[in-house]
Each structure stands twice: as structure tokens, then as C-alpha cells.
Assembly symmetry: none
Homo-oligomer: 198 residues x 4
Amino acid sequence: MVRDVNRVQRKRDERVRRIVATAAELFGERGYDGTALEDVAERLDVTKGSLYYYFAGKDELAAAAIETLGSDWTARLEEMPATGPSAERLRALLREHIAIAVREYPAALRLFLVPDSWPDALRARIRELRARHDLVFRRVIREGVAAGELAVVDEDATLQALHAAMSQAPLWCSHLAGDAQDRAMDDLADTLMKLVRA
Amino acid sequence: MVRDVNRVQRKRDERVRRIVATAAELFGERGYDGTALEDVAERLDVTKGSLYYYFAGKDELAAAAIETLGSDWTARLEEMPATGPSAERLRALLREHIAIAVREYPAALRLFLVPDSWPDALRARIRELRARHDLVFRRVIREGVAAGELAVVDEDATLQALHAAMSQAPLWCSHLAGDAQDRAMDDLADTLMKLVRA
Amino acid sequence: MVRDVNRVQRKRDERVRRIVATAAELFGERGYDGTALEDVAERLDVTKGSLYYYFAGKDELAAAAIETLGSDWTARLEEMPATGPSAERLRALLREHIAIAVREYPAALRLFLVPDSWPDALRARIRELRARHDLVFRRVIREGVAAGELAVVDEDATLQALHAAMSQAPLWCSHLAGDAQDRAMDDLADTLMKLVRA
Amino acid sequence: MVRDVNRVQRKRDERVRRIVATAAELFGERGYDGTALEDVAERLDVTKGSLYYYFAGKDELAAAAIETLGSDWTARLEEMPATGPSAERLRALLREHIAIAVREYPAALRLFLVPDSWPDALRARIRELRARHDLVFRRVIREGVAAGELAVVDEDATLQALHAAMSQAPLWCSHLAGDAQDRAMDDLADTLMKLVRA
DNA sequence: CATGAATGAGCCTTCATTCAT
DNA sequence: GATGAATGAAGGCTCATTCAT
């Protein structure tokens, strides 16, 4: 019995996971308005109606997608090694953030930086996710500053600038390929490091 | 007679100007998809259909809005004094750009930085406008670098970062008031100047 | 005074004439639904609104256009020489009718043969015009039959068939050019003459 | 299972069939421009939007309507006995064609003979259908001519004339009833036979 | 659980018509 | 007389949402 309930539950979770992942992809690619539930359903090989069995509506699905996307992204940054000089750690974080933005969520810009186009209910949640995301960078910078390795004019302004620049990277890196793209990402990371130079 | 023609023309121009201004506001606030012609018309106290007397369609209206907004903005930056040390001139440009973004086009972000949500035909034009806009900054930086007053890791990356950060300023400055807002804008400008520090 | 009134009247008539002629052209080319008053106005280099000074609305203009077109067409056929053997006269009439249809009113089909797409008020009038038009051919045929030069299975059926075939000529002759077109029209006329062969 | 799939499919087909039939009726009655999807929906007692579940748009629905109508019609003619003297076979074909036009597709005229009012995409298809339709008659005539039983001035012109006359039959036969209508159709068929008389 | 089907609101666009100037 | 301007009613299309099966 309990076994069964668990199995059923696991199956449901797995299904929800797949739906959310697909939705995140599409919302990321095309934005909230540009993504039709039909598209999500089609990519999942189910019908539109089925989605309503798992989510109350488009907004809820979008919320879950953002949640997932934001959490995954932050998690990957949080998993990075936390030792060594602050500058090196920050450089690595920036580089990884840029790479994720360019390669995996080319339109995360829409998810994180233009919250106004999302239904009201989602905006607050987006802000929260962003704050947690922010913390990963803020901590390193703060440590670096405390240790005298880094210096900033203003912590908030610096973080805003960093995020802004990184999130827009896809807009001008996506069309590059191979080495050229890697180099562009390196250039951006190096450029941004000047913001915290002592 | 000629007077009359002129008067009529002036009146039409004025009307077109108002429509475009209103459209720019709304497109800025809600993005392309989020803005219905109905909304634009309503804010102008006319009916949807009337807009078609002046513009062939939503795209053309959006194009005009972008055009106007972009040109005005660039023009104001181009009018700034072009003498003195590069660093000072650049600082002034950044500060002015930020002020315009925050105070007048709080949602220009959507017009300039998320081109993917715009119809294909408009994206190219947006890119062009942005390029011209870009040139204002690029020129000063290049001169400064040539004169040894400034230094950049990479010109393109630097410009992208500058623009990205400035355009997003409204997202975190708009809710501040008075002095606090001024200080935040100063902080951002100062922070960004580090990107070109020799 | 009287002179003036006359002059004014003549001017008005001339203007009405031009409007109707233009409307006839366009209705002929594109049909009732496919023709916008804007188009008519534009071709006349006036504004849409002006048309309402001369006609109460689209229907009335269309009525006048049909009237004119129908009358002109019939008049041209009525002006043809009325002497000689019936067969020759009929052959000439058919040939001329086809030529007018192909060269001048390529879409008269829409005016004469599909009356259902016209507003109710116009359909009756169209039928009348067609009847008068019909008479031109009917008379010659009747004379020919009476004189034993021609023979028909049934007068009405023959006339319907003649008109139908001639009116549709544009559909398959229009795309031909020069001699080929002339030959096609001759072939059709000759073919149709078999319908009245003794 | 398979049963179910079949049942669902059959139901869908049946629905599509009804929609197409209704659309054909209305397009036939009022032409392409004169028929609003709203009208089609209303006659089917559904809402406009529902039609889009089955057809991508007005054009596609119109295409299906034409297709069905054209195919059915041609099929019925192709099924007629293909033996006996050419003249007799042709006479039978003409008579049947006229009967179908008058009794079942009184407005086919608009579908087949006024292609100019149809969107470009459909015109080509209409032409194709008409060509296939044409072939039924063309074959018999060609055989008859080869056998010396029939004679034509020009094959193309003859076929055009035949089709034109037959398709317009409804315009002047529809209002007749019973025997009178039958006689009118006979008269037309007999009249048209003169076109191929040796 | 999932599907097919249907709905209804909303959007862009066209156009005949009206009217003040 | 003519123009510029505005209106309002359609009409085509999309899509989130609902629901019976």
C-alpha cells in the first residue's frame, strides 16, 4: 500500500518535473506572452488539457518554471568551490554565470530582469529568487572587501551592474560560435572584474 | 492658403507626436505583446480605429515609438559638451544617461534590451538605433584610451556592460526618492567608471 | 444667371460621370466586396468623404456604376450595323461582345453573372440591364430563325449559353496576348455560332 | 482500444464533414468575401473559435469546401457508364452535370467560375479541380471526334463554352419547378449538343 | 489521468459612414 | 464643395480555460 502510494507519488513528481522543465525552456526562449500552453503540451507530447491536471493555470506553471530555473541556477553557483582568493572565486562565479546564461537560458533576461511583464503574483517570487541568487555573489564580494582583496564603490550598485551585464550577455554572445564565444565570455568576465578591483 | 496647409500639417504632426509619445509610454511599460492598441487609444481618448488613420498598424506605431524614443535620447547625449578630459566627459554621459533612463524612460529597458519580443521587422531597427546610441559612448572611450586616460579590457564588452547596467538602473532606482535616488545614480556612475579606469 | 446654373450643373455632371466611370472600373476589376471607397477616391485624387457629396453611399455608387457599364456596353452593340445576313451580324455581335469582355471589363462576369453578391437593391436593376442587353442578340437570332438562316433548339437556352460562354471568356483569354488572344476569341465566336446553325 | 481510436476518428471525420458541407453551402451562396466564419459557425450551432480546432483558418476551410465539392461532383460524372456512341454518352454527361448544378450546387458558379475573388492560394487548386472535371468531358469529345461521330471548331473553346453554360444553368433554372425545370435542362443539354455536331 | 472538443474574451485590422471646418 | 478626422461595427485569428467522456 504505502509502497504503491509512494510509487504513484514518485511518478506524479517525475511528471510534474518534466512539465516544469519544458515550460522553463519555453518561457526562457519566448517569454511569458510568447509561450502558449499548446506549445508546452506539444513538446511534452500531451494535450493542453492535461496540463491543467497538474497546474491550475498558466501563471502557476510559469511560477513553477521560474522557481525551478532560479533554484537550479543558484544551486549550480552555490556548488562551486568556496576556497581560494576572493578574486579568483568571483571570477569563476561570473564566468559560470555568464556561461549558463549564454548556453542554457539565453532568455533568462526575460525571467530575471524584466519582471514587469509577468503577472503580479509572480513578480514578488521572482524578486525573492533573485535575492538568493544575488547572495552568492554578494558574499564573495563582501569577504573580498573585508580581506582587502577587493574594493567597490558601492556594494549594491556593483551587484546590480554585474547582474545586468551578465544577464544580457546572451544578446551579444549567442550569435558567436565556438572559441569566439568563449573569448567573448572571458572578455566580459575580465571586464566586470574591474568593478571590484582594489 | 499656404498658411492653412501649414496649420493643418502642424496639427497633424502634433497629433502624431502625441500618439507616438503615448505609444512609447505604454510599450515601455508593458512591452509589445502586453500593449493593446485599445490601451493606446484609450489613453488618448479616441477609438482604436482612429490610430489606423495615422499608422498602418501596430508594428508601424511601435516602430515610430522606438524611433522617437531612441533619437531623442541619443540627441540629448550628443548635445552634451564635448570638451575636457575623457574621464570627466564619460562620467557626465553615464550620469545623464542614467538620469534619463530613471526619470523619463523608466521602461526603456524593454525597448532597448529585450529585442527578442519585438516583431522581426523592428528588431533590426532597434539594433541600428542602439548602435548610434552606442557610438556616443564608444567615441569618448576610444579617445580616452588613445590618450592614455582610460583603459579597457575589451571595448565591446565594456560598452555592453555599461549599457546593460545603465538601462537597468530604473529597476532599482525608481522606487527611491529625492536625494537617495540621486545618490544611487551617482554610485552607479562611479561604479561603472571603474570599468574604464587606467 | 441661368448660364451660371447651367455651367455649375454641367460641372457637377462631369464630376459625377468621372466618379461613376472610375467606380465601374474598380467594381469590374475587383467586385463589390473587393472594392473599397478609399480606392475609388484615391484613383480620382479626392478623399473618401467627397464621394458622399455625390452619392448617398457605396450601394448607390455601385448602382450607378453598373448602370453606366451596362448601358455603355449595350449601346456599343446596338450601334453595330444592322444589315446583312443574320449569321454575319450575329457573328460580329458575338465577336464584339467577347472583345469588350476580354479587353475592357475582364470582370464583368461579376457584374452580370453573379448577381447574388450584390446588395438586394441592385440585383433587380442588374437583371433589367441584362434583359436589355439580351435583346440585342435575341432580335438578330429571332430574325435569322424567321428567315430560315438560323435555327435553335430553344431560344432561351441558346441565349443563356451564349451569354455564359462569352462572359467567361476573360477567364481563359486574358492571359493570352496579341494574336493568340485574337485567335482564341475567334475560336470562341465560331464555336458559339454552331449553336444557331440551321 | 483500437475500437476507441476508430470511434473517435470517425466522430471527428463526421464533424469535419459537416463543417465542410456547411461551409460549401455558404461559400456557394454568398461567395468567399460574403461568408463570415461566424455564419458558418452559427449554422452549425457552435462558436467561431471552434472551427479553428478543425481548420487553420478561413482559407483552409474554403479549400476543403472546394475540394470536397469538386471531387464529389467529378466522381459522380466519372461513375457514369462509359459505353455506347459518344454523342449519347456526352449528352448524358451534360444532362447529369446540369442536374447536379441546378439541384445540388446551385451556387457552384461562384466556386468554379469566379476564381478571382478567391485568395491566391485557392485559385490554383480550383484550377486543378476544374481541369480534372474538364477531363471527363474532354475525353468523350476527343473520342467522338476521332471516331467521326462528333466535330468541334476548337476543343478548348468548346469545353469552355460547355462548362460556362452548364454552370450558369442554376441562375435561370432554379426558379422553375417540376417538369418545367426538367424541360429547361433538357433544352439546354440539347442546345449544347449542337456545339459538337458533326 | 488524459483527451478531444468547445468556449469566450481579447486582439489586430478594415471600412462604410458621419461630421465639423 | 471638399478635407481631415473620427467612429463603430464587423471579421479573422489566438489562446487560456473548462469539461464531458
